[in-house]
Amino acid sequence: MPGEVILEVKHLNKHFKVNSGFLGLQREWLKAVNDVSFSLRAGETLGIVGESGCGKSTLGNCIIRLLRPTSGEVRFQGMDICAMTDARLREHRKEIQMIFQDPFSSLNPRKRVFDIIAEPFRVHGTARGKALEEEVLGLMGEVGLDRSYAHRYPHEFSGGQRQRIGIARALALRPKLVICDEPVSALDVSIQAQILNLLKELQAKHHLTYIFIAHGLPSVRQISDHIAVMYLGEIVEMAPKNELFARTMHPYTVGLFEAIPVPDPGKRKEKQLLQGDIPNALHPPTGCCFHTRCPHADEVCVREKPRLTDMGGGHFLACHHPRRGSYGQAGEDQAGAGQAGEVVPGVGGGDVHGADVGALGTGGDAHGADMGTPGTGGDVYGADVGAPDAEGAG
């Protein structure tokens, strides 16, 4: 089923200028997306997972060029979107569309449903009059909206129905690539599944390619063929879905899995949680960006940035000490088991984020007993707090 490569992202960077310090005189750069590369085949779905501030939405906005990347290439069907003029881009936009997170802000409150879905046709002049009406009503049927709703205003609908309207609008131009920016995270539990099912149906029917951005792994797993995990603007692990689930290598991905609440009180267990806070993206840690929270970090991690390398089977990883445990099973831990216990107490007082990282463990039963010193949460939280950081953020 997978076709030819439809999207190629090469060394994409997006940096924002931030004024800070006294009177905002100090200029700093926030690296929201940092050297991200991947490619995607037609008909496939790439899931991008990460917590807030990891740059996943910025990445999506760069691909559709709502934001202009600082550097790098976004090649869609062989053409570089970043280098396009606005006029060329407008033609091209038909092929890439977006579904937004917040169904309450993504629909113009003063337009009726019909006009919202009709806008793409009107802008591109592809249908009018009777034909337009048929197209719009057809789309409404396709996303599961009653035709009689066409002349209502968005505020008369629930979140799930609004999201359906947004999906209909995104599909109006028959795009090839659809960027779904957290399309279900603002919805109620029972509605999330409805929308995911709808997205799957539409993908099969129209042979769509998706980039599915989300902060939770469960929904990403349901829809993705490949999954990329982002942390502080970088892809730290990327693999075909089944590969990622079978061989979770990056400690952060392991932590993400562990943190998911399991709806089964029988499986309640002492969890080995990731400690500490997500560092301030304005002052990312040295070396590996995850080392402040990583249970396996050592001097190398503090000093050297790991490169995203192919571990075989399309599994890309940026980590000095790859793990070889599968999620949910006792891992046959080989690689970093021994040295992982020796954790460096920190980078030194000067660095805010490295400050108080003590010895702490994930590992535990699920991933092979590999830790020397189990975590004492008390020491850990200093990492991200305190006066120096506070000044930076203000």
Partner: protein, 290 residues
């Protein structure tokens, strides 16, 4: 489920006492202006030396013939107030149209495009803010003739800065809403995004600002006329009437007070109506609950 929009507006009107009062006053004002000839019992400029400075009907010595009394030349004050609404309405509405158009356009451009256009437009508004309206009126009157047109231009040209500021800040917020991003990704051209998506969403603020602006324009006209820079006799304006009444305030208070009351009531009525309109313009607002 689906209610007729007319029904909703009526329901909203009945819910709001101030809205009713505002609508009543503004309607009355329009009726006065249109049917001034039929309503006014006297020619506004008809002098009657026999009945100078007659007090209003409800005071001692007044008569029903001159409801609100007469001024120093024996003009019937009620008739003059009725005719004065014409000037007030014309100046209020026209100057606000000019100001609103210029201000909204500048605000949209500044807010939407940002950058250089924004910087230039905002500095121009600052500059305009610094020029006193009276000074500009003095210059305009000396260059052009004094009259309704001049007044409209002076008030309109000085009034747009409020619009530009308000509209710009609204646009800045709207620009980041996802529906605007959605329009961009669909390929909608900028001008169409501005007119289709942004303008309708700032319109309710523009209307609220406008009602305030009509009120201030009417006051501005009156004060300029009061200073002798505005409407010249024999044309009638409330400001001019106030100006004549000033000398008699100690002995014949009604000459200045009556047009003053007319001015106050009108301005209040317009503001009440404006507040109510703001609620009506909001599609979410259906009273309380829906």
């Amino acid at each position: 489920m689906q209610k007729k929009p007319g029904g909703r507006i009526l329901r909203l009107l009945l819910q709001s006492y101030t809205g009713c009062v505002g609508l009543f006053i503004v309607t009355a004002m329009v009726v006065f202006a249109v049917f001034a000839k039929q309503i006014a019992p006297f020619e506004p400029n008809a002098m009657n030396p026999l009945e100078m400075l007659k007090p209003p009907a409800f005071c001692e010595g007044g008569s029903m013939k001159h409801l609100l009394g007469t001024d120093n030349l024996g003009h019937d004050i009620f008739s003059r107030i009725v005719y004065g609404t014409r000037v007030s309405i014309i100046i209020g509405v026209c100057s606000v149209l000019i100001a609103g158009f210029i201000g909204t356009a500048f605000g949209l451009v500044a807010g939407y495009f940002g950058g250089f256009a924004d910087a230039v437009i905002m500095r121009v508004t600052d500059a305009f803010h610094a020029i006193p309206r009276t000074l500009l009126a003095l210059v305009a009157v000396s260059v052009m003739s004094s009259g309704v047109t001049t007044l409209i231009i002076v008030i309109g040209v000085t009034g747009w800065i409020t619009y530009a500021r308000v509209v710009r800040s609204e646009v800045l917020a709207l620009k980041n809403r996802e529906f605007v991003k959605a329009a961009i990704t669909v390929g909608t051209p900028d001008w169409r995004i501005i007119l289709d998506h942004i303008l309708p969403n700032v319109l309710s603020s523009v209307i609220v600002v406008s009602t305030l602006a009509v009120a201030t324009s009417i006051i501005a006209e009156s004060s300029l006329s009061f200073l002798g820079l505005g409407i010249q006799p024999p044309s009638i304006s409330w400001g001019g009437m106030l100006s004549t009444g000033r000398s008699y305030i100690a002995t014949n208070w009604w000459v200045a007070t009556m047009p003053g009351i007319a001015l106050t009531v009108t301005v209040l009525g317009i503001m009440f109506l404006g507040n109510w309109l703001r609620d009506v313009m909001d599609p979410h607002h259906t009273g309380s609950g829906s």
